[in-house]
């Protein structure tokens, strides 16, 4: 493994700032992971396909500022 691994905090920020990345990660994991600077090995791709993207999407829906309590 080379370079600094992504931290959980960075990933959460990425999720909330760029939800599009997760659509891409689900639709085309090899391309998304390569563009993010990681080697798209079969094991990584298989692990990525097993993620629950619906659960991740619910985080950015819950934390979407456009639906924040408005008072």
């Amino acid at each position: 493994m080379a370079g600094t691994p992504i931290t959980f905090g960075e990933l959460v920020n990425a999720c909330l700032n760029n939800p599009g990345f997760f659509h891409e990660l689900q639709d085309n994991p090899a391309q998304a992971i390569t563009q993010a600077g990681y080697e798209a090995t079969p094991m990584v791709i298989a692990s990525l396909k097993n993620l629950d993207y619906n659960a991740i999407r619910k985080v950015f829906r819950a934390c979407d500022p456009t639906t924040a309590p408005m008072c």
Partner: protein, 327 residues
């Protein structure tokens, strides 16, 4: 949408139409700018959808909750006046808040800021038509309006929020929502109910502020805003742990457990006040909060799995952080 919600939606639309017409009589250009701002802050550009949004504090519904157990004939004109006053009061507070918070549409908001005076005057007029200057109601009005303004200003200046500051400052930002509630009690001759209803409004404000703190933690961190939830994260996190990791490990559960505890107390108060509408509303909020809790907990756990996968993956570039590349 229920019939009562449809009725409320049409009354909100009528108030916004009147804002456009009143301002348009002096300046059609300015009226368009103000309406543009109102639509911009409304989900889907619909002012009624804004006020009836699931996450909106129930400022327009609270007087109906007060009225329900009183067994009196509703004074429709009074309630229309309350809705008009409250919509104007909300826009007054929101415009100032957005400027203080440095909203993304700051240029427009700064230009239309003088209109906040019109909003404030319409907010007060709604009550002046019903309560003479010497009426007891105005003492409550003044106390709540001052509490709302001072809490909002002080909250923006806090650098760290403990429970004491949260209780004394942050949770009091909703105080103005008690004004139409107190007006309803006085109008129907039930001034003795004002303290109990204001306690309930404060409890609901506390609950709503905490929801905001939890679900907007990311936005608050990005502008370096101090909230009770984030301050507690800084206090409770382990030395090697980030606030995000604390939220995943226990912060999310801690925050939602607190919300549940407060909601139980709110539900007890609602039962004592005898408002079934309020009890139904609170049950809906409790179920909604449970959904958000589950969404946050499960989604963050899944993101932790992804972080684990990426931690094991081979980096092809070493010059910048993975987070920067993903974002």
């Amino acid at each position: 949408m229920s019939m009562s919600k449809r009725k409320l939606a049409s009354q909100i639309d009528a108030v916004v139409d009147r804002i456009g017409a009143d301002l348009g009589a002096s300046s059609p250009f300015l009226a368009n700018q103000v309406l543009r701002w109102i639509r911009r802050i409304s989900p889907g550009g619909e002012p009624a959808a804004h006020f009836l949004n699931v996450r909106m504090f129930p400022i327009l519904e609270l007087p109906d909750f007060v009225l329900e157990p009183l067994a009196v004939v509703p004074d429709e004109a009074f309630h229309r006046s309350l809705i008009s006053s409250t919509v104007h009061g909300y826009y007054y507070i929101r415009l100032i808040d957005d400027i203080v918070d440095g909203d993304r549409d700051l240029e427009l908001e700064r230009k239309i800021l003088p209109i906040s005076g019109c909003f404030l005057s319409e907010f007060r007029l709604g009550y002046q038509n019903y309560f003479p200057a010497e009426h007891e109601f105005w003492k409550v009005f003044r106390r709540l309006w001052t509490a709302s303004a001072t809490s909002s200003a002080e909250d923006a200046m806090l650098r760290s929020v403990g429970f004491i500051e949260f209780e004394r400052v942050s949770s009091r930002k909703f105080s103005a929502a008690g004004i139409p509630v107190a007006a309803t009690c006085h109008h129907y001759g039930c001034a003795e109910l004002v303290p109990a209803w204001l306690d309930l409004v404060h409890g609901l404000g506390r609950w709503s502020q905490m929801v905001d703190d939890i679900l907007d933690w990311h936005g608050d961190r990005s502008v370096d805003a101090a909230t009770y939830f984030l301050s507690e994260g800084e206090r409770q996190r382990r030395r090697e742990e980030s606030v995000e990791e604390w939220i995943l490990r226990e912060g999310c559960d801690w925050g939602f457990d607190l919300l549940n505890e407060w909601m139980d107390r709110l539900q007890e108060s609602a039962a004592q006040l005898g408002s079934y509408g309020l009890m139904e509303y609170l049950a809906g909020r409790k179920a909604w909060a449970a959904e958000q809790h589950s969404a946050l907990r499960n989604g963050l756990a899944e993101l932790a799995r992804l972080a684990g996968i990426l931690g094991q993956a081979t980096r092809t570039e070493t010059s910048c952080s993975a987070g920067a590349q993903i974002t």
